[in-house]
């Protein structure tokens, strides 16, 4: 379709300027190491990720509560010595739940992005490389999928599958790959005609080998940029699904369902609304900034 082609073309123009050489990566790294905003964002995300990964250890040794440990005689406590960030409606330690919530929210977003990226890159490589009928069928499928608002599909499928973190990862992963696939397909399209690919083919390299060792390394930068932005978007999607009542069960904390639950109690316990909202915003913001920073680093035309 023309509009698809146009978008792909625009994206290609943007990325076409890449110089496929070691110096390209070196240049990007140099650029990144001087982009303090991106480095700061990266630092924040790494810190949150570490907190999420070590949530079990932190809740055992530092905060001293389990994420589902209730105390119904101490509900809605404001921050205090025992509970650094207070307690929620079930008397659970808010800080502990925020840390575990990070594990769930970041985990779902991360694994779902990896899943959608894997699908997107694989299909993008194949369709872009082979073109022809495979490409036509894929493009038809994608146009179909893209013409339906993805939130509708998400709601429908997650209502059928039922709420659990694993289901959510699968649903988000299987519905989110079209953008990546189009990007990769467009890029592969142009790379296919490049001299070094033609040369490799002439030297008898198999298609699989060309795709894996010649084309893939050249699109890795797009993949990383997409990953960063996708994770951010999916954190927001997870919270939106929670709001509409299709998120994961609320005894398993995620930033999205914590924020949703807290809204009912915002008058009496504003502290419960602030932190999950802030954490979602900061994380997503940092991921966007990282995505932007990476794009700037890899794309010399945008910055000067």
């Amino acid at each position: 379709m023309a509009s698809d082609a146009t978008i792909a073309k625009l994206e290609m123009e943007e990325l076409d300027q890449h110089v496929q050489s070691r110096s390209h990566w070196q240049r990007a790294m140099y650029q990144l190491s001087h982009d303090y905003l991106t480095l700061l964002a990266l630092g924040v995300v790494v810190l949150l990720t570490l907190l999420a990964i070590f949530a079990p250890q932190i809740s055992t040794y530092v905060t001293g509560y389990r994420f589902d440990e209730e105390n119904l005689s101490r509900t809605f406590s404001p921050p205090s010595y025992e509970h650094a960030l207070g307690t929620d409606e079930q008397g659970r330690d808010h800080l502990t739940r925020l840390i575990w919530g990070g594990q769930v929210s970041l985990g779902i977003a991360f694994f779902a992005s990896i899943l959608s990226l894997t699908i997107g890159v694989t299909l993008g490589l194949f369709t872009g490389y082979y073109g022809g009928i495979v490409d036509d069928v894929m493009m038809w499928f994608i146009t179909t999928l893209n013409s339906i608002p993805s939130l509708f599909l998400l709601l429908i499928i997650s209502s059928v599958l039922g709420p659990s973190p694993v289901n959510l990862i699968l649903v988000l992963g299987f519905l989110g790959w079209t953008g990546t696939m189009r990007l990769v397909r467009g890029e592969t399209f142009t790379l296919r005609e490049r001299e070094f690919i033609v040369a490799a083919r002439a030297m008898g390299a198999s298609n699989a080998r060309i795709m894996a060792s010649h084309i893939l390394p050249n699109i890795i930068s797009i993949v990383i940029i997409t990953l960063a932005i996708d994770i951010g978007v999916l954190i927001l999607v997870e919270s939106g699904l929670s709001f509409l009542g299709f998120g994961i069960p609320s005894f398993i904390p995620s930033w999205g369902n914590m924020l949703t639950n807290a809204q009912a109690y915002f008058q009496r316990a504003p502290h419960l609304v602030v932190m999950p909202g802030l954490l979602i915003t900061i994380t997503v913001l940092c991921l966007y900034v990282i995505g932007d920073g990476l794009r700037d680093a890899f794309d010399p035309t945008v910055n000067d």
């Binding site: 589902d68 440990e69 119904l72 101490r74 509900t75 409606e89 039922g162 005894f251 109690y265």
Partner: protein
């Protein structure tokens, strides 16, 4: 002001003592000048305006204001009584067998087009429902449908004697092998079935549908040109509101005329926004949820809101599936004989169910109201009562078995579980089956299986969702794994009816007119996978006999019935087919400028047609 009557039942005969307090005060106000009554609706649009096929609360809130009942409820006693506003019944009498009821109708009532309301108006509706051709859920009022299929109800036949007299044959049916009713035995709750079927203007319904009752399903929003009720002419704006206009000529109102000009259900997204809109003065009245009641009490004292509190007519509970969830069976076979339903691996044992009552701390869920500097605690924050058994003495029930709740004592619970063959032998903190009932009676290989079950409730009900989390956590502490999940309400009802669940948190609303009969929830005859409400498959012969006896007491003497129900409650209390949790405190509130706002327990809106919303 009130024109309510009281009636007493003496022996087998009903003596009616009328105490008509003259029709309302002088016409000091014109009808329909009392302003607009607006309430919030966190549901959705109505699906029908037809009282014969409507099947959801939004719809019944609308059509309930346009049609009379054949027997109405006295809002003060919450029982069916004759000579009530909006009710046709003037008096009734049973014959000696106790199964033939003659109902005399008031002769002073007319539809808004002047046509008198007669026996034909109920009979048309009954014929339509009983035809079985419609999607009407009220077929369950009848013993059999027109084509002979069993419908599970009490009304066996009805006959018009004259325009204002109907004779019914009703009671517990006994079927022969071919499914024909051979005998009817008296049943004290049978009379309430009559009122399940609404009264419709038969001349207009007949003109619209004739004998083609199924056509009502194609036109669920049919509104006849004449109605009988305080509000009429419903208009609905999708996703925004349903509005009804005050009926100008309706005289069966509390004041003798309808005061409000309009009644509106305004769609609101959730309780937070509903509450805020009430505080902003956009809603006339509201039900305040448990977690806001403490705040609102203070606010009302400052701002002058009117407040009314009463215990809920119902309770929240956990239903344990006592039968084998892998193979759901009905309670009775076609010949009325008990079917072996197997036992649930965990809850088949009464000791386990009793242990659950010790292991779960209901008191902490109910919690306490704030007191000085001490903040509120618990889930209901003191705005609820302990439910002990099916009829606990709180709320509108008149059966008070005087039972104490099981105390919270997890050590006692562990002892009982050990006695039942559940203990932690391998030291992993998890209880396992060691010669538990299921291993003894069904499958010896079950020994060593960790104690775990699924617990399900519906998403969107805050109290239930939070109670579920607490149960999961408290049982986790003593080594029982609970797989807890909150699913959407429709899916929960499907699961519950299918009887494939382990445990479900849900609530019963006990309904009006109030009757203590609990056979619909605790008997083999209501245990039908896919349809019956006795979804726990709990069955107790002794209890069945009590239910039977209590509904066939000669003359349905209330005191004799209460005694039997108290024994029944004792059995339920000991057998614990449910873990009874809480009875919510219902808080109704109205704006300071609403005059004549006078809620009664479980009948908050009984005199809405008398309200005046004053201009500021």
């Amino acid at each position: 002001m009130k024109r309510f009557t009281h009636f007493l039942m003496v022996g087998a005969l009903l003596t009616l003592v009328m105490a008509l307090v003259g029709p309302a005060a002088a016409q000091d106000a014109e009808p329909n000048t009392g302003g607009v009554v607006i309430e919030g609706n966190i549901g959705s649009d109505p699906s029908s305006f037809n009282p014969l096929i409507g099947n959801d609360t939004t719809s019944s809130d609308i059509y309930g204001k346009m049609y009379p009942d054949i027997i109405a409820i006295n809002p003060e006693t919450l029982r069916s009584e004759p000579m009530q506003l909006g009710g046709l019944a003037e008096s009734w009498e049973y014959d000696e067998s106790g199964t033939v009821l003659t109902l005399y109708l008031r002769q002073d009532l007319v539809w808004s087009d002047g046509t008198p309301i007669t026996a034909d108006d109920w009979i048309w509706a009954a014929d339509a429902v009983r035809s079985g051709e419609t999607s009407s859920p009220r077929t369950s009022a009848f013993t059999t449908l027109a084509d002979g299929t069993q419908a599970g109800g009490f009304v066996d036949s009805y006959e018009k004697i004259d325009d204002f007299t109907i004779e019914f044959v009703l009671g517990q049916p006994i079927f022969d092998d071919e499914g024909n009713v051979t005998e009817i035995t008296p049943n004290c709750t049978a009379i309430d079935s009559i009122a399940d079927v609404a009264v419709v203007p038969s001349h207009l319904y007949d003109a619209a549908f004739g004998m083609d009752y199924a056509a009502m399903d194609s036109d669920p929003f049919f509104v006849p040109t004449a109605t009988f009720g305080p509000f009429t002419d419903p208009f609905f704006e999708a996703g925004v509101q349903v509005s009804m206009l005050g009926a100008p000529e309706y005289s069966d109102a509390v004041l003798g005329y309808v005061s409000p000009s309009e009644y509106v259900q305004l769609i609101v997204p959730d309780t937070t926004v509903e509450y805020e809109r009430f505080l902003a003065g956009e809603l006339t009245f509201i039900g305040v949820s448990a977690d806001r009641q403490n705040d609102f009490r203070e606010l009302a004292a400052e701002e002058g809101y009117q407040v009314f509190e009463s215990p809920q007519n119902g309770y929240t509970y956990v239903g344990w599936n006592v039968a084998d969830p892998a193979n759901p069976q009905p309670g009775l076979d076609e010949n009325g004989q008990l079917i072996d339903q197997g036992i649930h691996p965990v809850f088949g044992d009464v000791l386990v169910r009793q242990a659950m009552a010790y292991a779960i701390d209901t008191t902490s869920m109910i919690g306490t109201r704030p007191d000085g500097d001490t903040p509120a605690s618990g889930i209901l924050e003191g705005n609820g009562y302990q439910a002990v058994t099916h009829n606990s003495g709180e709320g509108v029930t008149f059966v008070d078995p005087g039972l104490d709740p099981y105390p919270f004592d997890q050590e006692k619970a562990l002892e009982m579980l050990a006695e039942a063959g559940w203990s932690d032998q391998d030291g992993d903190g998890q209880l396992e089956c060691n010669d538990c009932l299921y291993a003894r009676e069904v499958d010896p290989d079950y020994n060593g299986t960790p104690m775990s079950f699924s617990l399900t409730t519906n998403a969107g009900n805050d109290v239930r969702e939070r109670v579920g989390q607490t149960i999961r956590e408290q049982l986790g502490q003593i080594g029982i794994t609970v797989e807890y999940e909150a699913i959407d309400f429709g899916a929960l009802v499907d699961l519950l009816l299918s009887q494939t669940h382990d445990a479900i948190i849900i609530g019963w609303s006990l309904g009006l007119p109030f009757d203590p009969d609990g056979r619909w929830a605790f008997s083999a005859e209501s245990d039908i996978p896919g349809a019956g409400f006795a979804f726990t498959s709990y069955n107790n012969e002794e209890l069945n006999d009590l239910w039977q006896e209590a509904t066939t007491v000669p003359g349905c003497d209330p005191e004799a019935r209460v005694e039997l129900y108290q024994q029944a409650m004792q059995i339920l209390y000991e057998d614990q087919p449910y873990l009874w949790l809480v009875i919510n405190n219902v808080m109704a509130a109205a704006q300071p400028n609403v005059e004549n706002w006078d809620p009664l327990p479980a009948a908050n809106l009984w005199n809405m047609d008398a309200w005046r919303v004053l201009e500021d």
